[in-house]
């Protein structure tokens, strides 16, 4: 089944790392994206580029900034194909942010 791995991290965490670690983070990410189980992936621009949209009374209303005001923000997501939750957890644990205080939320994708 498919799982969405949503990556939450403190903005700028990677920039704060020493160059060698940053290099390792990049390498880990490309290894993940190249993994056969990876269906799709997207890294997002920083949260201050976010725009929230809703429609009320036929008018499109916009607000600046991310939907939830938390320290950790959604920084990217990976869609994977895994046999079960344990396999999804193993992939999620390889996402670098999990080593630096970030969190990955795993959600099964509704089957079409």
């Amino acid at each position: 089944m498919q799982y969405a791995l949503m990556i939450y991290a403190e903005p700028g965490y990677a920039e704060a790392l020493p160059e060698a670690e940053r290099e390792a983070v990049r390498a880990d990410f490309s290894a993940l994206v190249d993994d056969a189980r990876c269906v799709a992936s997207a890294q997002l621009q920083p949260a201050d580029t976010a725009t929230c949209v809703r429609v009320a009374g036929g008018r499109t209303l916009m607000t600046d900034g991310p939907f939830a005001d938390t320290k950790e923000v959604l920084g990217g997501l990976i869609l994977i194909e895994a046999a079960n939750l344990d396999e999804a957890i193993e992939v999620a644990a390889r996402i670098p942010v999990t080593r630096f205080g970030g969190i990955v939320e795993i959600r099964p994708v509704v089957a079409p």
């Binding site: 895994a82 046999a83 079960n84 939750l85 344990d86 999804a88 099964p108």
Partner: protein, 373 residues
């Protein structure tokens, strides 16, 4: 049996229904045709057939039938080890850390302990409706998130086994404070786990720990007052259960067990000896503190050091601990200071403990100590 069906059907509710149907058929047929040679195998196979029939009938699930293997198991070659493995898989599913802890506990008792929802609800002092919701949430999450029915791979096993042991011990401790049924149920589950994982020292360690503690349950209370180990009436202990617990502990140690449950069982065993070997108890608490890094364990270590004859060293160790909000930190300091003849400081420590005491027996005990000083 349920384990086997859940594994086969991938669904708790369907498995339960199928099991009930199989029992009903057995109740009808066995008195007439006699009990089959392998009753367990017969029930599982019958339940599987019934479940498949039901699924076939349900049109919405029509396409899923292709995913199910054809029922070819015949009663005679029904493999008992299969059931064994499936029970183990079910334990790991019920105690999967992705489930909320209360859900893990409820599901373990329901699926493996075979307790009714109402019984579990009573044991945890919640309404049956609440417990039913808790179980449903857990079952739904297993299905929706694809929590596997599998014994985790070797590299995941230590962590996942810890989670299973924690759930069983939690069930035991719920029963420790008076609801004996749950404690006995936890011991039964511990025995199942130790049987299914005969080479895991911590599984044996936990079982031994629970058995030895449980053997002392009748001596633990006098009316509603808690009786400390040193004051317990040893004739109320279940000595055969202590011996049985020690045999399980020996097995754990023989397997090279040095984990937290094996150490705690060793301490419990040492404390049931006629003359307690306090230096050895202190050594065990030292190892346990090293493993867990827990300040409460350090406190217990200090108590054992004092019992072994060195209250001054114990007091020095206790004074280094950051446990100001913990009742037993202050009552232990009070006791050590009393033994060292520092009565004024002892009184201050007992008074602080009394401020933190919430239960009547505790208050009564501390007041009595204060009056004696």
């Amino acid at each position: 049996m349920l384990a086997s069906l859940v594994r086969f059907l991938g669904d708790f509710d369907q498995a339960e229904e199928a099991a009930q149907e199989a029992f009903a058929i057995a109740a009808e047929r066995w008195p007439v045709s006699g009990v089959p040679p392998n009753p367990g195998g017969w029930l599982v196979t019958t339940a599987r057939h019934r479940a498949i029939d039901r699924i076939r009938r349900e049109r919405t699930l029509a396409e899923k039938i292709h995913l199910l293997p054809e029922p070819e198991a015949v009663m005679d070659d029904f493999d008992d080890t299969l059931i064994k493995d499936e029970r183990l898989e079910l334990i790991f599913t019920c105690c999967h850390p992705a489930l909320p802890l209360d859900g893990q506990v409820a599901l373990t008792l329901r699926a493996l302990g075979g307790l009714e929802t109402a019984e579990i609800a009573r044991a945890f002092l919640v309404s049956e409706e609440t417990m039913k919701r808790r179980l449903t949430r857990a079952k739904t999450k297993i299905k929706a998130t694809g929590i596997p029915f599998a014994v985790p791979d070797a590299h995941l096993l230590p962590d996942r086994l810890d989670a299973v042991l924690a759930v069983i011990y939690l069930i035991y401790n719920e029963g420790y404070s008076g609801r004996v049924d749950l404690a006995a149920e936890a011991i039964r589950l511990g025995r199942v786990l130790a049987t299914l994982m005969p080479d895991e020292p911590e599984a044996h360690g936990l079982l031994a720990l629970m058995m030895i503690h449980h053997a002392r349950r009748r001596a633990r209370f006098s009316g509603e007052d808690l009786v400390l180990l040193g004051d317990q009436d040893r004739s109320l202990w279940d000595h055969s259960q202590i011996a049985a617990g020690r045999a399980v502990l020996d097995r754990a140690v023989a397997l090279g067990g040095r984990g937290a449950y094996v150490i705690q069982a060793t301490i419990a065993s040492l404390q049931t000896a006629k003359r307690i070997d306090w230096p050895q108890v202190a050594e065990m608490y030292r190892r346990l503190a090293e493993l867990t890094g827990s300040a409460v364990v350090e406190l217990n270590h200090a108590v054992a050091v004092a019992q072994a004859g060195d209250p001054a060293a114990a007091l020095r160790a206790v004074n280094c601990l950051d446990l100001d909000g913990y009742l037993y930190f202050h009552s232990t300091r009070g006791e050590l200071l009393r033994r060292l003849g520092r009565d004024a400081e002892a009184r201050a420590a007992y008074r602080r403990a009394l401020q933190l005491a919430t239960s009547t027996p505790e208050r009564r005990f501390l007041t009595w100590r204060l009056e004696q000083l």
